[in-house]
């Protein structure tokens, strides 16, 4: 099956001042997001991410890992992340292997507190780890 299909399915969005860097790898089952997120149109940005996660969970049976180095999130970005974590929770409920690794700059403990708030309703592995290099 197609390398071609796999290629077109992956996201590679460069980091900007108001949007995080987003990369997905269908092949390794990995989605990474890094940076600040306060886009003008967050639905436009996150819809494709949510769609990618949904399709990976639907089409594949392999584990999915979210590797996050998110710093500042505006309200609609917070909502989008909650939606993504809900998708993972649902998949986990169906016996799927999913995990989140959230890295934060140890100089900003608040990020860890907020990541912990996100983690509240998640029953799958959700690690909040100080990053050795600042995110």
């Amino acid at each position: 099956m197609g390398t071609m299909i796999t290629m077109t399915r992956d996201l590679d969005i460069p980091r900007s001042q108001s949007t995080p860097a987003i990369q997905s790898s269908w092949q390794t089952g990995r989605l990474t997001m890094q940076g600040d997120s306060y886009p003008e149109n967050s639905y436009e940005l996150f819809d494709q991410v949510i769609e990618w996660v949904r399709r990976f969970l639907d089409d594949e049976e392999r584990p999915l890992l979210l590797s996050l180095g998110l710093v500042y999130l505006n309200t609609s970005s917070v909502k989008a992340m909650m939606d993504i974590f809900d998708l993972l929770e649902e998949a986990h409920g169906n016996g799927r292997e999913v995990a989140v690794e959230w890295y934060y700059d140890p100089r900003n403990e608040r990020i860890a507190e907020l990541a912990d708030e996100f983690r509240e309703d998640c029953s799958y592995p959700f690690a909040i780890t100080p990053a050795t290099t600042p995110a």
């Binding site: 999130l73 608040r110 907020l114 996100f118």
Partner: protein, 260 residues
């Protein structure tokens, strides 16, 4: 009539109808028809009650589903608000920190020139009276040369701490240059200002730090100038500077008021 009485009556009627001696009786047929009609109606009623109960159950279940859905959505909304508020608080803190950094000297945490300039313009715009003081640490360069800049920096930090201990809420103390400090005393006349500066000089001269087992302390020279109505703050500053220079020339470790 309760259900048991009703049942008893029906049984009595059935027994009467079953008795062959009553078969020719003129009431036999109408009674038999009436009993049949009654039983049918009873069945109908039971079905109706049963259907109604099921509807009630469905409505109840639907209400519970709606209630659960509402509670979930409320919980989600609250979580969203809580996290979002957290990010906003983080942003405010970051802004505060940036503002502090952009208006204060990183070493001593005293006001920097930007904040002093801002305050001077504010005072000028509001027409508030104030007295301005320029202060300089005596022979600071010698300490830097002999003990190194890190010792000089430690001394500056200790002196800044001592100064903060003397000042009032409305006073603003800033680092004007290397070892030069400025004081803005709003609504303060010259005599009061002089008292404050002398107290501050006392405190500063009591500060000691240790370097290579040697105790170091310094004295402070100061020039005071009271702002005059209508005067440009640069002029006030110039007068304070001249007074400071005069204090230095006449032997240091003193406070002089600008001659006008």
């Amino acid at each position: 009539m309760n259900r048991r009485d009703e049942q008893a009556l029906l049984e009595r009627v059935a027994a009467l109808l079953a008795d062959p001696t009553h078969s020719g009786h003129p009431l036999f047929e109408p009674l038999e028809a009436l009993a049949e009609q009654y039983r049918n109606q009873q069945q109908q009623l039971e079905r109706l009650i049963c259907i109604s109960d099921r509807y009630q159950l469905l409505a109840l279940e639907a209400r519970q589903v709606a209630q659960t859905r509402y509670e979930n959505s409320l919980r989600r909304q609250q979580k969203l608000s809580r996290i979002s508020d957290g990010y906003q608080a983080m942003m405010r803190e970051r802004n505060r920190a940036l503002h502090q950094d952009s208006t204060h000297d990183p070493l001593t945490q005293l006001a920097n020139r930007r904040l002093i300039d801002e305050r001077l313009h504010q005072l000028e715009a509001s027409g508030q009276s104030y007295t301005l003081v320029l202060m300089d640490i005596d022979r600071f360069k010698a300490i830097n040369d002999r003990h190194g800049h890190d010792v000089g920096d430690r001394l500056l930090v200790a002196i800044a701490d001592a100064m903060r201990g003397v000042l009032r809420e409305s006073d603003l103390c800033g680092r004007w240059g290397g070892e030069e400090f400025i004081l803005l005393l709003a609504e303060t006349r010259i005599d009061e200002a002089r008292t404050i500066v002398e107290r501050l000089r006392d405190r500063v001269s009591a500060v000691t730090i240790t370097s290579c087992e040697e105790k170091l302390s310094v004295t402070l020279s100061a020039g005071i100038s009271e702002h005059r109505i209508g005067e440009d703050h640069l002029t006030t500053l110039k007068h304070a500077d001249q007074a400071l220079l005069e204090a230095k020339r006449s032997g240091r470790d003193r406070c002089l008021v600008a001659a006008r």
